[in-house]
Symmetry: C2
Subunit: 499 residues, 2 copies
C-alpha cells in the first residue's frame, strides 16, 4: 500500500477521536501510546496504513512533539509500527492469526468455558481451614497481640536495617539467618528437650510451610500419611497438596492412637497439646508411637503445638528428644507466641536430612526473608522472648480460669467444659440441652451471628464426625471481655435450645 | 517390688555417677532432670526401682532441695516417675516394647538404612539452580544493594511497627497487605501495561512462591507444562515439585517458539527479557503464543523478568495486557530491583481465578508476613521505588557499557559478547580460541577458582545442551571493579586455551 493523502486522511479520522487528558493519572505520551495500540489491535488502524506525521499529530492533539515521538518510538520498539526511511510510520503486519478483538478498558469478556483451575485446587480449597480473622472472642490459636512490646520490636527492626551487613542484604542461606537459628537451637534445647544444632534448623514462614518443606523432602505422590482424627486441617491440606494419601487415626485420652499394623510413610502428630482436643500424649504412648514408626520405617512429623503455654508442671519434653534414629522432623512457630502476622516458624530435621532439605528448600520460595530475622534473634538472645512467654502464660492461665468460671455460671446445660493444663483454647462439648438436638456447625453459625467466633469441633474431622462441640480460644480475650462474651454466647445457644 | 534398703542402695550407685555442672549452660534442675531421664530410658534405673529421697539427693549432690524437687516433679509430670504416697518416687513402667537404647549426648547412632527421603527430593535437588551467593563479579540476577537507601528503609520499618493497627498484627489476608497490593496494581498499570485491580494481586515470598502458588491452582499431577529451553531452572524445579511433566521449547531470536501442535496445560514464558538468553519476545510472537494457548486451552505463566531495566526505548508492555480471555497469570518480583533478601514478589491472576487462588494460598504458608509490606507500600507510594529504578537503570546501563568495553580489550577471541537492550547480565558465547575445545562448565569452574562467578549457559538447559557460554551479571559490580574482574576472568580463560 502506498502513502497517499487518502490513506493519510483515513488514518486521521480515528486519531482525531483520541482523547488525551492532561490531568489524567498517566503521562500524555503513555495515553497516546495506549490509545494508538488499542486502535491497532482493534484493527481500526490496519496493517500497512500510514500514520500522520509526528508534526501533524503534534498540531492536532495540541501536545509537544517530544510527547508524540515518545509514543511512536515505543510503538515502534514493540513492533506495532514499522518506520520507513523518509516516509513516516506505518502500522506493522501483526500475527498471521485472525484479528484479536479490540482491547476494552471495561471488565474482561467471558473466557472459554473449558479453562479450569486444577482438580486438586478444589480439593485444597475444601480442606483449607476456616479462616479465623476476627481476632475477637473466642478465636482459637491466636495470641493476644495487645501485650506484645511493639515499641521495642520497632527499635530492633530499625537497628538491624539502618546499616545492614552485606551478608544480610544479599541472597540468604536456604536455612535462614544464622543468629536466629542459633537462638532457636538454644531455646529448644533448654526448654523443649529438643536435641539439635543450629545447622539442623530451617527458618520458614509459618508452620504450614514447615510441613510443606518436610513433605517435599519426605513424601512422594501416593505415599500414606497418618494424621490425627480430629486434627489440624491446615496440616492435612498441605500434606494432600503434596500428593499424600491421608489416613486419619483416632485420638484418645493419651493422644494419637497407634495403628500398629499399618505400614505408612509419615506419621504426623501433635504430642504436646493436640489440636483441637488439647490432649497431651503420655510417655508410654510416645514410646509406642516411636516403636510403630520403627516397625513401619516411617518418618514422624512432630508439631509441637502450644508447647509454650503449660499451666500444670513444666512443658513436656518433645518427642524429638526421645528419638534415637533420626526419624522425627520437628515443627515449631513464633506466630502463636508473639503475634500472628510475624510469620516465622522453624523445622528441625535430623542431621542426615539437612543436606537434602537444604537442596529442596529453594523449590518453595528460595529462602526466607531477612527482614524480621535479625530482630527476632536479638529479641530472643536478650531474654525478651522467654519473658514474654512467662508473662503471657500467667495471663492465659488467668483467662482460662475466668472463662471456666463464667461458663459455669452462664453456659450450664448448654456446654460442658473441662479445664485444660495447656494451650490457648478449651473444647466445649454439647451439654444435655443441646446434645443430639443441634449440630455443632449450626451452633457455631449462631455464635458467629452474635459476634462470637467458636469453631465447630466437627469441622476438624477428616472422616466421619466422631464428636461435636465448640472450640473457645481464650488467649486473645482480655480478662474483662470474657464474661460479656460468654453471656452473648449463652444467649445465642439458649435460643437454639428453644428453636 | 517392695522398697528395701538394698533397692535403695542399688539405685544410689548410678545416681552418684551423676555430674552436675554449676557453670554449665543449663540450670542445675534441668541437668538433673536430663541425666535421670537418660538413666531411666537407658534402663540403668529400671521400672519399679525406688529413687533416693529428695533429702538424700540434696545431700549427695550438694544442691538445693528445690532444685531436686523441680527435677523430680518434671520427671513425674512426664511419666518417668510414679510417686507413691509416703514412700518417695519409683521409676514408672514404660512402654511394653523392648527397652530403647540409652540416649547418648554424642552424635546420633546410625539410622535404619531404609529410612530415605522422598524420590522427588533427589529430582528437586538436582533441578535446583546453582546457588549464587557470592554477590561479587559477575553474579547474574543480583541487584547492587550498596545503592539501596537503607537508612530510609529502616525509618519506614520502624514507623510501621511502632504502634501498628490491629489489622496489621492479627492474621492477615491470604492475598497480602491491601496498601501494597494497591501500590503494585497502580505501578503495573502505569509502567507495565498490566490490566489489574488490587484484588487480583497476591503478595508472595519471591518469584518461586508465585510459581508454586500458580501451579497449585492450575496444575495437577501429570499435566504438561511447556518451559523455555534454555530457561530458569528455579521455575522448572517448582513446576516439577508440583507434579508437572516438563516439555522444553526452544527459544529463538524472537523468544520462545510456538509448539502449535502440542496440547498443553500451561505455557511458562519470560517475554520481557528471557532468562538466560536476554531475548525480548516480538509482538508477532506474543500474539502467536496467545493463539497457541487459545487452541490448546492452556494457561500462560508470564514471568516478567528484568522488565524494569530496559536501556533501549521503554520497557515492552506485558503479555498480560494483550490477553483477552484471562489466560495469563503474571509474576513479578521486588527482590531483583531492591535487594535480594527482601523476598517480596507478586502474582497477578485473572478475576475468575482470584477466589480459587485465595483458597489455595493457605496450603503454602497461610499468608505472607506483614513485617515488610507496609514499609514497601509507603516506599512505592512516596515515589522512592520508581526513583530507585530510574537511578539503577542509568547505573546498570553504564556498567554494561564498561563491561563490553573491557571485554573488547581483554576477552577478544575467548568470549564473544553482544550488547543487550535490557537486563542485568550479558551472555558471552565461547570465542574461536575456546569453542569446541572447552566445555562451558569447566570454564565456569576455572572462573570460580579465580573468584569470578560466571555460570555456564549449558546449566540452564533441561534437555540436550544447545549452546555453550558464560553468563556475566554486571549489575552488582561497581564501575571501577569491572575491568579488574574482566582481567581476572581473561587470565583464567587464557590458561584454559593453553591447557
Amino acid at each position: 500500500m502506498t502513502a497517499t493523502p487518502r490513506t493519510d486522511r483515513s488514518a486521521r479520522q480515528p486519531l482525531l477521536s483520541l482523547s488525551l487528558d492532561p490531568e489524567g493519572p498517566l503521562p500524555l505520551h503513555r495515553q497516546l501510546y495506549q490509545q494508538l495500540r488499542e486502535a491497532i489491535l482493534g484493527r481500526r488502524l490496519t496493517s500497512g496504513m500510514r500514520l500522520p506525521s509526528s508534526r501533524l499529530l503534534t498540531q492536532e492533539l495540541g501536545i509537544s512533539r517530544n510527547t508524540v515521538l515518545a509514543a511512536l518510538d515505543q510503538l515502534t520498539a514493540e513492533g506495532y509500527l514499522a518506520p520507513r526511511r523518509g516516509s513516516g510510520s506505518f502500522v506493522a503486519a501483526l500475527a498471521p492469526e485472525p484479528a484479536l478483538p479490540a482491547r476494552q478498558p471495561t471488565p474482561r469478556p467471558e473466557k472459554a468455558a473449558t479453562l479450569k483451575p486444577s482438580g486438586r485446587s478444589r480439593q485444597l480449597a475444601v480442606s483449607a481451614p476456616q479462616r479465623l480473622v476476627t481476632g475477637g472472642a473466642f478465636t482459637p490459636g491466636l495470641a493476644d497481640h495487645r501485650e506484645f512490646p511493639f515499641a521495642l520490636w520497632s527499635r530492633l527492626l530499625a537497628k538491624s536495617w539502618r546499616d545492614p551487613p552485606a551478608a544480610l542484604v544479599g541472597p540468604g542461606e536456604a536455612q535462614g539467618h544464622q543468629g536466629l537459628r542459633r537462638a532457636i537451637a538454644r531455646y529448644l534445647g533448654a526448654m523443649r528437650g529438643v536435641v539439635c544444632a543450629p545447622e539442623q534448623v530451617f527458618i520458614v514462614n509459618g508452620a504450614r510451610q514447615a510441613v510443606d518443606l518436610a513433605a517435599h523432602a519426605l513424601i512422594d505422590h501416593g505415599d500414606i500419611a497418618c494424621v490425627e482424627e480430629p486434627g489440624w486441617p491446615g496440616l492435612r491440606g498441605t500434606l494432600a497438596a503434596n500428593g499424600a494419601l491421608l489416613v486419619p487415626v483416632p485420638v484418645d485420652e493419651f493422644g494419637m492412637t497407634v495403628a500398629s499394623g499399618l505400614r505408612v510413610r509419615l506419621i504426623a502428630v501433635a504430642p504436646s497439646h493436640q489440636y483441637p482436643l488439647g490432649v497431651t500424649m503420655s510417655l508410654a504412648r510416645r514410646l509406642e508411637l516411636i516403636q510403630w514408626a520403627k516397625r513401619s520405617d516411617a518418618w514422624i512429623l512432630e508439631d509441637d503445638y502450644d508447647s509454650e503455654f503449660r499451666y500444670g508442671g513444666r512443658p513436656l519434653a518433645a518427642l524429638q528428644g526421645l528419638d534415637e534414629e533420626g526419624r522425627v522432623v520437628y515443627v515449631g512457630t513464633f506466630s502463636k507466641v508473639l503475634f500472628a502476622s510475624l510469620r516465622l516458624a522453624y523445622l528441625v530435621v535430623p542431621p542426615e536430612l539437612v543436606d537434602i532439605v537444604a537442596r529442596v528448600r529453594p523449590s518453595l520460595d528460595d529462602y526466607p526473608s531477612a527482614i524480621a530475622q535479625p530482630a527476632l534473634a536479638e529479641f530472643i538472645d536478650a531474654g525478651h522472648f522467654v519473658a514474654h512467654i512467662r508473662r503471657m502464660r500467667r495471663r492465659y492461665q488467668a483467662r482460662q480460669e475466668i472463662l471456666l468460671d463464667a461458663a459455669g455460671r452462664h453456659l450450664s446445660g448448654l456446654l460442658d467444659i473441662e479445664p485444660c493444663a495447656a494451650g490457648m483454647h478449651l473444647v466445649a462439648r454439647l451439654g444435655r440441652a443441646l446434645a443430639g438436638r443441634q449440630d455443632d456447625r449450626t451452633l457455631s453459625g449462631l455464635a458467629a451471628a452474635s459476634g462470637i467466633t467458636a469453631p465447630a469441633l466437627s469441622s476438624y474431622f477428616h472422616g466421619p464426625v466422631g464428636a461435636q462441640g465448640l472450640l473457645l480460644g481464650y488467649a486473645p480475650v482480655a480478662e474483662d471481655e470474657i464474661e460479656p462474651a460468654v453471656r452473648r454466647l449463652a444467649q445465642a445457644l439458649g435460643a437454639a435450645r428453644q428453636g
